[in-house]
């Protein structure tokens, strides 16, 4: 899926905005909701929490007795809560995702006298294969899987529409990139 990476510090802060939590529980929740393809290493959890504490975004409670190595409870501060609020309110930059790569390949193919339409067809096939995988994942999947698959499917579909439009304009583009 061609998505911008999730901000780990802001996501952990968001989880702490829900309720104070231990590092282990934060990692478990992060992996369940946001890190399905890429679980968060414990080391990164604690280093991130350390930086958030240093910056005054979280406070660290005293160690509590119990199972496991880490029994410190982390709580969000007002400053941290303000940051989460701002992040949630601000729209994410409309990332161009694959566009720049596809565009560069098409332009270079035309410049080098290669078959750009063939490349676009190969890319179209590759996109459709991935869309089929995501469609299978959607079918009968849990709501979380459906939503994640939908996100990928809609983005891939947008790429495909761009591929179709570019193919229709290859003639004009070829003229443009041709050396005078």
């Amino acid at each position: 899926m061609h998505t911008a990476s999730v901000s780990v510090p802001l996501t952990l802060l968001g989880l702490l905005d829900r309720e104070p939590s231990h590092g282990y529980d934060l990692k478990r929740d992060y992996d369940a909701f946001f890190g399905r393809d890429k679980p968060l290493p414990f080391g990164q959890v604690y280093s991130t929490l350390g930086r958030l504490a240093r910056d005054g975004k979280v406070t660290v409670g005293a160690s509590e007795p119990g199972d496991g190595p880490d029994r410190k409870r982390y709580s969000i501060t007002d400053s941290g809560r303000t940051e989460v609020e701002a992040w949630l309110t601000e729209p994410a930059p409309p990332e161009p995702h694959l566009q720049s790569v596809l565009f560069a390949k098409v332009v270079l193919a035309l410049m080098l006298g290669r078959d750009a339409a063939r490349y676009l067809d190969a890319q179209r096939g590759s996109h459709l294969r991935r869309m089929r995988e995501l469609t299978e994942m959607r079918r009968g999947g849990a709501t979380m899987d459906v939503l994640l698959a939908d996100y990928g499917l809609f983005h891939l579909e947008a790429d495909l529409r761009w591929i179709d439009a570019t193919e229709a304009r290859l003639g004009a583009l070829r003229e443009m990139v041709r050396k005078p």
Binding site: D121, G125, H127, L128, R129, M131, T135, R139, L153, E157
Partner: protein
């Protein structure tokens, strides 16, 4: 008898040799007046395969579907179903073939608005000489299967777009056709309804072992198929290789 795809006449693009072809187009040409729609189209569809046919507007994809289904006859070339040429059959034989071996779903369900949902589904069975009681029993079973239980007595004009397309699918599959032809079956539906309809179409066709030829311009609909081919300038090219569905 179906044609083994390893034979010398193997058309391209076609499914892997692991599936025998049920439908084939060999070098098919078809024009409308002076305008050519197909210019040497070649295609093989495997038995039980769910194939999507994509292409820009005017590329010839719907004409290809109509030729494969025996609705149009090619100006040149051959169409084979189960190994037999259907382009040489009389109109009456092709009509009979469409009624007994093929099912159709179009963009707008093309249901009969004066009849009830059950009547619409039972209609092709009655035309196929199934007794009335049995036809309506089967229609009822299809209603339940496609989540339309309780709607059998409704006039089709009272249905939502998604419900109407599900009725169209039930009507097409009730006579147990070997091939289902679907031309933009979700073209008039919103995104979520389209997904529901496609999920039902694919899962039901798989359960029945029905071959599906699906014409669509929608990549999300094509992604429901096992293989996709592209029609461009009246010819067919493979977009994705054959893959066995999980």
């Amino acid at each position: 008898m179906s044609t083994d795809l390893t034979l010398a006449r193997e058309p391209e693009p076609g499914p892997a040799v692991s599936r025998r072809s049920i439908l084939e187009a060999h070098d098919v040409h078809r024009s409308f007046g002076q305008t050519p729609a197909l210019r040497g189209a070649r295609l093989a569809v495997g038995t039980g395969e769910i194939l999507a046919v994509m292409g820009p507007s005017g590329s010839g994809k719907s004409t290809l579907l109509h030729c494969l289904a025996g609705i149009y006859t090619p100006d040149q070339g051959e169409i084979r179903f189960d190994g037999q040429r259907i382009d040489e059959l009389s109109d009456a034989r092709r009509t009979q073939l469409r009624r007994t071996a093929f099912g159709f779903v179009f963009q707008f369900g093309q249901l009969i608005p004066e009849l009830t949902v059950s009547d619409n589904i039972a209609m092709p069975l009655l035309l196929g000489d199934v007794r009335r009681k049995e036809a309506y029993r089967r229609a009822g079973a299809w209603l339940d299967r496609l989540g339309l239980g309780g709607l059998g007595g409704r006039r089709t004009g009272e249905l939502s777009g998604g419900q109407a397309q599900r009725v169209a699918i039930a009507r097409a599959l009730a006579p147990q056709p070997k091939v289902l032809f679907a031309d933009e079956p979700t073209g008039s539906l919103d995104s979520l309804t389209s997904e529901t309809v496609m999920d039902l179409l694919v899962s039901t066709a798989r359960a029945e072992g029905t071959t599906v030829v699906l014409v669509t311009h929608d990549a999300r609909v094509a992604a429901c198929a096992e293989r996709t081919v592209m029609v461009r300038d009246g010819k067919v090219s493979a977009l994705t290789e054959y893959e066995v569905a999980s």
